[in-house]
């Protein structure tokens, strides 16, 4: 019986529920789509790794400290491969040569070939192994010192084919090849570029020695992989490391997985935010439905319906909405996942959309998002419905005005907001982790408080700006103004939905623009160098450094290397870090803010610098001795020569030391240079020197060569990219919020049908009517935007203060973004009003007046 009434009521009002349904569908679709996409991507990579992994991969055992230092690939001797091939149970032992630090360049255009970010470019030797990830689809395998084979996707993207010339820039130098063949991935192409040489050429170009980077064993089936591993390691003795197929797979998946997992959680986060925004929309819908049905509910009560029955009937309606919305949403999520896969293909990661992975978690999570959202949203309207008395059936049509935003609301709202503001103020005064905690609390409290206070603020704002609308827009202005405040709760929650999205946008943009501002000011303050040469993914080879040094007008070029090291502190603790190794020229390029000690002493044999906060934390002062381990048994003792002030991202948490000193300890085998800084000679034209420097390094298109202004621009554009991603994801939240405005207006228009009929009868023109609806919409949107901006600014400013010790020394308010948001909100209001205004104007006057 109960279900029947709910179902009937649901069907009767189905058009009024369309936008609520859409809000549920969008949120659930985003959640389901993210999960399906994640599952599909992970399983694709799992299959790829499973299909290509050898039974056992043998490498030279490496000290963890040296494993990731650039330019020092560890190798397996050819003899080892022969020894392994002779092992019992081994069908084939393939010697592999692979490097991810070589760059492919099209000599015709001098442009980098292959992915420039994300996936790697792998250059290696072509071998006949039982398990290959690629097949030769045209041409033939590379033979001799000038042939190379390229994967089809990369070739297509770069416009290369058989016979094209391709350059490989490796640490050994620059080598030119002709494309002899094209290979195509058997399974999904993860987005990497692959280039194959013949084995002797690969050894010469990539390793500079006749050896392998790994030996891949394929068993004949007589022994398990673990048995192979035990036998191989026993046979080779210490100094080798072997990984079975399962171990390799796990390692590979973990690598890809961490990126995908980050994406998954980011997208889920935004999906949940938009679901939260959707709650406001659904609350409004159900509130309005309950109000419109006051008499009907009164009648139900008069003929003996109980409060709880009325309450439940509204909740069940919410449940029906949730079930339908979630079901459609899960279906739409599959479509969204296909869309995301296509999007990833555009960025080079080729996933297979024909093998969507829909696990049981997808529907479970889908309903777990959709149902609570609708039930929660229906909860308060249901309670209000239950309070309707049987007397309501007898009253005139005029729906009782919803209770005015009351005193409890005011007190509660002010207390919560006040607590939030206090928490933010405290947070701003206490950087660090307590500040972070306070920031989080303040964020939550101010958000909640603003939502609670919203309806009151609507009344206050309209009272303050009361005369403005009628004065500017005449009678339409007055009508719109009154409509905005006739139901403050409805206006408040509609605006709150918009507020949330915009607050996050503004907060994020304050933080990122402060990051850019701080970085810029720190560069201005502490960088004396005119130019920076950055190796990007690879390192700077001596040939590149020499080429740069030959530039006319360049006074000097300072190399900086990152050397992995384990430092033993005087208090006995150890620290894994990378030492920033340079020489005395460094002090001509950077102004080190020394607290105690001397910067010169850092680069004059055996010196080391530490940061102020590190020194404070570990009670270190100038003169203390550190034992430093570079791995492979190379150690030395360094003495603290300077303590550097904190608050500059360029220097914070860095340990500077002298390159000659470190080279001594490492037997002259320093890792390759990561980045180099240059300064123009006195009197030289800096712009001309930059152009010359770029020309000197023109044959290395993978390098980033910038002057200070260009470098700042690059830093800024990186932050802009991050911000664009955040904005894109927040787009969903804002779309749902805009739907909320449309929803409120559309339902209000229906609710006010008789009023509209009356107004039209006494002479309000269609144009004036449309303007009334539009103005109401713009006021709601602008109100939400103002609240959101205020909230976002307070969050951003506080977050900046909390992060001030992490280098956010300068507060930059992105006025452009703020102005854009406010202007944008007016546009949003106009767009949201389009359909409701049109419908209002189209109403038949007589029919509208006669509406019950």
């Amino acid at each position: 019986m109960l279900l029947k009434t709910s179902l009937r009521s649901f069907l009767a009002h189905k058009w009024r529920l369309v936008l609520s349904l859409l809000a549920v569908v969008l949120s659930v679709a985003f959640v389901a789509g993210t999960l399906v996409f994640y599952n599909t991507a992970t399983s694709t990579f799992d299959r790829l790794f499973a299909a290509t992994a050898s039974d056992l991969s043998v490498r030279k055992a490496q000290d963890e400290l040296t494993a990731d230092s650039p330019g020092r690939a560890s190798t397996v001797p050819v003899a080892t491969q022969q020894k392994l091939a002779a092992e019992p149970g081994v069908e084939a032992a393939v010697g592999n040569v692979f490097s991810s630090s070589a760059t492919l360049v099209d000599p015709a255009t001098n442009k980098v070939v292959g992915p420039t970010s994300g996936a790697p470019t792998l250059t290696g030797n072509w071998t006949e192994s039982p398990r290959k990830s690629v097949d030769i689809t045209s041409g033939h395998q590379p033979q001799g010192a000038d042939q190379l084979m390229l994967d089809a996707d990369t070739a297509k993207k770069a416009g290369l084919g058989l016979g094209s010339r391709l350059r490989v820039i490796a640490e050994s130098g620059t080598h030119d090849f002709t494309v002899s063949g094209i290979v195509t991935f058997r399974t999904t192409n993860p987005g990497a570029a692959l280039a194959f040489l013949d084995t002797p050429t690969a050894q010469r170009v990539l390793l500079g020695t006749e050896a392998y980077t790994s030996v891949e064993l394929f068993g004949d089936g007589s022994r398990s992989n673990d048995e192979l591993k035990t036998a191989a390691l026993a046979d080779l003795g210490s100094g080798f490391d072997a990984k079975t197929a399962a171990e390799q797979q796990k390692e590979n998946s973990a690598g890809v997985g961490s990126f995908l997992k980050f994406m998954k959680w980011a997208m889920l986060g935004f999906a949940f935010l938009s679901a939260a925004v959707g709650i406001f929309l659904i609350v409004n819908t159900f509130s309005m439905l309950v109000t419109q049905r006051t008499r009907e509910i009164g009648l139900l009560r008069a003929i003996g319906g109980s409060r709880s029955q009325v309450n439940r009937s509204v909740l069940v309606e919410g449940l029906i909405l949730g079930v339908i919305g979630s079901t459609i949403g899960i279906g739409a999520g599959l479509g969204l996942a296909v869309g995301m896969i296509q999007l990833m293909q555009a960025t080079g990661m080729n996933l297979d959309s024909s093998s969507l992975q829909v696990t049981w978690t997808v529907p479970v999570v889908g309903y777990a998002v959709g149902l609570p959202v609708t039930l929660l949203a229906a909860f308060f309207p249901a309670r209000r419905a239950a309070r309707i008395t049987p007397m309501a059936a007898l009253l005139d049509h005029a729906a009782p005005a919803e209770p005015r935003a009351n005193r409890i609301r005011a007190v509660l709202g002010l207390v919560v907001t006040g607590a939030g503001v206090a928490a933010l103020a405290l947070a701003a005064g206490s950087p660090g982790s307590t500040g972070g905690l306070l920031l989080g609390l303040g964020l939550l409290a101010t958000l909640t408080g603003s939502v609670v206070l919203g309806p009151l603020l609507v009344s206050v704002l309209v009272r303050l700006l009361g005369g403005l609308l009628p004065a500017l827009f005449g009678p339409a202005g007055r009508l719109a103004q009154r409509n905005v405040v006739r139901n403050p709760r409805r206006t408040g929650s509609t605006a709150a939905a918009l507020m949330i999205g915009l607050a996050v946008v503004i907060g994020a943009s304050v933080v990122t623009s402060s990051m850019v501002g701080s970085m810029t000011s720190q560069i201005d303050k502490s960088v004396g160098a005119d130019y920076v040469v950055d190796g990007g993914h690879g390192a700077l080879t001596p040939a590149m450094i020499d080429a740069a040094r030959r530039t006319k007008g360049l006074d000097h070029l300072t190399e900086q290397r990152n050397v992995p090291a384990e430092v033993t502190l005087p208090d006995g603790g150890t620290l894994r870090t990378r030492l920033a190794v340079s020489n005395a020229d460094f002090l001509r390029d950077f102004r080190l803010p020394v607290a105690t000690g001397s910067a010169e002493a850092v680069f004059s044999g055996g010196g080391l610098s530490v940061g102020q906060d590190f020194a404070d934390e570990h009670h270190v002062s100038v003169g203390d001795q550190f034992a430093v381990n570079y791995g492979e048994g190379r150690t030395q003792t360094l003495r603290v020569a300077a303590v550097i002030k904190t608050g500059n991202q360029l220097f914070d948490q860095r340990f500077f030391t002298d390159s000659d000193t470190v080279a001594n300890a490492m037997n002259g085998q320093l890792p390759l240079t990561g980045v180099a800084f240059g300064t123009a000679s006195a009197g030289a034209d800096k712009a001309a020197v930059l152009a010359d420097l770029q020309k000197s390094l023109a044959e290395y298109p993978q390098l980033v060569v910038k002057d200070q202004a260009g470098y700042k621009e690059m830093v800024k554009s990186q932050f802009d990219q991050l911000l664009a991603m955040v904005y894109g994801l927040l787009g969903l939240t804002i779309v749902v919020a805009v739907l909320g405005v449309v929803n409120t207006l559309a339902l209000s228009v229906i609710e006010r049908t008789r009023e509209i009929g009356l107004l039209r009868a006494i002479g309000l023109s269609r144009r004036q009517l449309r303007r009334t609806v539009r103005l109401e919409s713009v006021v709601i949107a602008l109100f939400g935007a103002l609240l959101g901006t205020a909230l976002g600014l307070s969050w951003g400013v506080t977050a900046r203060a909390v992060l001030s010790e992490q280098g956010l020394t300068v507060l930059t308010i992105p006025t452009g973004t703020v102005v854009t948001v406010l202007i944008g909100s007016v546009l949003v209001g106009l767009v949201a009003a389009l359909v409701p205004a049109f419908r209002a104007a189209r109403m038949n006057v007589l029919a509208a007046i006669a509406t019950d």
Binding site: D396, H397, A398, A401, G474, P475, R478, L479, R482, N483, R486, R754, E755, L758, L759, R760, A761, I762, G763, L764, S765, R766, Q768, V845, L846, I849
Partner: protein, 266 residues
């Protein structure tokens, strides 16, 4: 049938400037073919300027349809209608809106007022919509004060409709209709929702606005007492004007109505 014929014959013909609204051969039909329902059938009517006309008839007689057509709220199937010198039939929505705004006042049975505006704002709403300043022009202002005085609302101008009784609400509606000085006021059962005392009050104001302010009023009603306040009563049955009565009383209207009922049941 004889009454219908004689009624048409009886309709007096006035000089044009004595006529506030005219209908000629107005037919209003809904649907087509077999489901066609004729609400008005070739009706001719003249509404005299400065007089109080009541339209009566049993439900379904077409009295409300006639009023809606005269007021330009509803379109006609055939025939022509004028309000003053303006032909209503054939006007586009924009012109109709202007006509309603500038030349016509309305009083509905219920829901006459916007709940968000106070009494004064409701009264001046048509002028606001037209862009006329209610403060400008001493004549307008004096008129407004006179109207408000006439309906006796001076003390309640700041109240919202929700704070007024049903009778007070209808008085505000009357004041609104009068305030803009329209060519003609249409009332659709204006006292239908009121108790007899409030109803009599509102009818009294309508009467006075005709006598003292020279207003033209057309009122649809099924209440003989209400019709008794009019100068002239038109009787409608089955979409045709069947009779009319000048200077009616409640009793004479009632006995005329009884003849309808008798005829109907016979």
């Amino acid at each position: 049938m004889t009454t219908a014929a004689s009624a048409a014959h009886l309709t007096p013909v006035f000089e044009q400037n004595d006529v506030a609204a005219r209908a000629r051969q107005v037919t209003k039909a809904y649907g087509t073919g077999e489901t066609r329902v004729t609400a008005l059938n070739a009706v001719d009517v003249d509404i005299e300027r400065g007089r109080f006309t009541a339209i009566m008839g049993p439900s379904g007689s077409g009295k409300s349809t006639l009023m809606h057509c005269l007021a330009g709220l509803d379109s006609v199937s055939e025939g022509r209608i004028w309000i003053g010198d303006t032909e209503v039939t054939g006007l586009k929505d924009k012109q109709l809106t202007r006509l309603r705004r500038d030349k016509i006042g309305f009083i509905f049975q219920a829901f006459n007022l916007l709940p968000t505006l106070n009494a004064l704002e409701n009264i001046t709403l048509p002028m606001d919509i037209a862009g006329r300043r209610r403060t400008s022009g001493g004549a307008d202002r004096a008129w407004l004060e006179q109207v408000i005085d006439t309906v006796g609302l001076s003390g309640r101008l700041g109240h919202r409709p929700g704070q007024l009784s049903g009778g007070q609400q209808q008085r505000v509606a009357v004041a609104r209709a009068l305030a803009a000085r329209p060519e003609i006021i249409f009332g659709d059962e204006p006292t239908g929702n009121l108790d007899s005392r409030s109803g009599a009050e509102v009818l009294g104001f309508l009467r006075r606005s005709v006598d003292e302010l020279g207003q033209t009023i057309v009122m649809v009603t099924h209440d003989p007492v209400a019709a008794g306040h009019a100068d002239r009563v038109l009787f409608l049955a089955d979409g045709v004007i069947v009779d009319e009565m000048h200077n009616p009383t409640a009793d004479s209207v009632l006995s005329r109505m009884r003849r309808f009922d008798g005829k109907r049941t016979s």
